[in-house]
Subunit: 148 residues, 2 copies
DNA sequence: TATTGTTATACTCTATAACTATA
DNA sequence: TATAGTTATAGAGTATAACAATA
């Protein structure tokens, strides 16, 4: 229970997480059907839909990437007509972003199409208890991402 | 318990996993100290150390990337003198890879330096039960990566 | 012919630096 | 001066296509 005892143990967990998360991330990228949103596009659009109208920098903070990187992702979403940009009348440096109807529609249709494959793998190859374990793990992983 | 009941539920777990794994992967990339191995270099060298001498294509299959991508990673490791390449006398198309002493040494020294930060975050901000939960989740995540 | 590996090329994702406009 | 955002550039990570050598 002391720090000394816990350390080698926790290092092992850390290593195992790095390996498994690296693998999963690669698979997520590979499983993108043609014409679909890229990973960051999908992620940004989802955040925008859940979070409500926000600025590019706020989104960048949520996704933990640089504002410039988020800018590139948002420009791609705008080109495809999936997000709309409004100027904040109270501070004209700021841009306010919100999903268009097309963006919301795409989220409903296509995101499920993308996660369907993952959900299928879960449903067919994992027990109910294992799925519950993963459900509980997801917020822990997100917390961990914000802790490092 | 039926498939119909489970489906929307499992989709939700799938979405949560995608979000949290995306975030964590970005943080892993960002936390690379100067002069360290890149993520795929570290991963390939670790596999090589655990798995024993293998061929480039076998490593590519384990890491679930193309043989060409693995070739680029291995070339970088060779340039740094961390892996050694031998020709297979039984099949001269094949190359056999193994870590050098320097490669093994670096794994011991530096990989812990990299995971130390993650381990520190786990130890200081998560309860023992949460850490145990994550430990059990890691092999599930790896299995999931191989299922999709 | 099939397999192992290499070379060439390109796309995605992200970063840092330098800039403009507004506060 | 400080902040929001953009533009330019570069590096990491990966893919596909075309090739050479060996089986």
């Amino acid at each position: 229970m002391t720090t000394v005892d816990a350390q080698p143990d926790v290092q092992e967990v850390a290593g195992a997480l790095r390996t498994s998360i690296g693998l999963l991330h690669r698979r997520f990228r590979q499983s993108r059907p043609a014409g679909e949103l890229t990973l960051p596009e999908s992620s940004a659009l989802t955040r925008l839909d859940r979070h409500g109208p926000t600025t590019p920098s706020a989104l960048a903070r949520l996704e933990q990437i640089s504002p410039q990187s988020m800018g590139a992702t948002l420009a791609a979403l705008e080109r495809r007509g999936l997000v709309e940009r409004r100027s904040d009348p109270e501070d004209r440096r700021r841009a306010i972003l919100l999903p268009t109807d097309a963006g919301r529609q795409l989220l409903q249709d296509k995101r499920s199409a993308r996660t369907a494959q993952l959900a299928q793998a879960l449903a067919s190859e994992f027990t109910r208890a294992e799925i519950e374990h993963l459900r509980a793990a997801a917020p822990l992983l997100e917390r961990l991402a914000h802790s490092i």
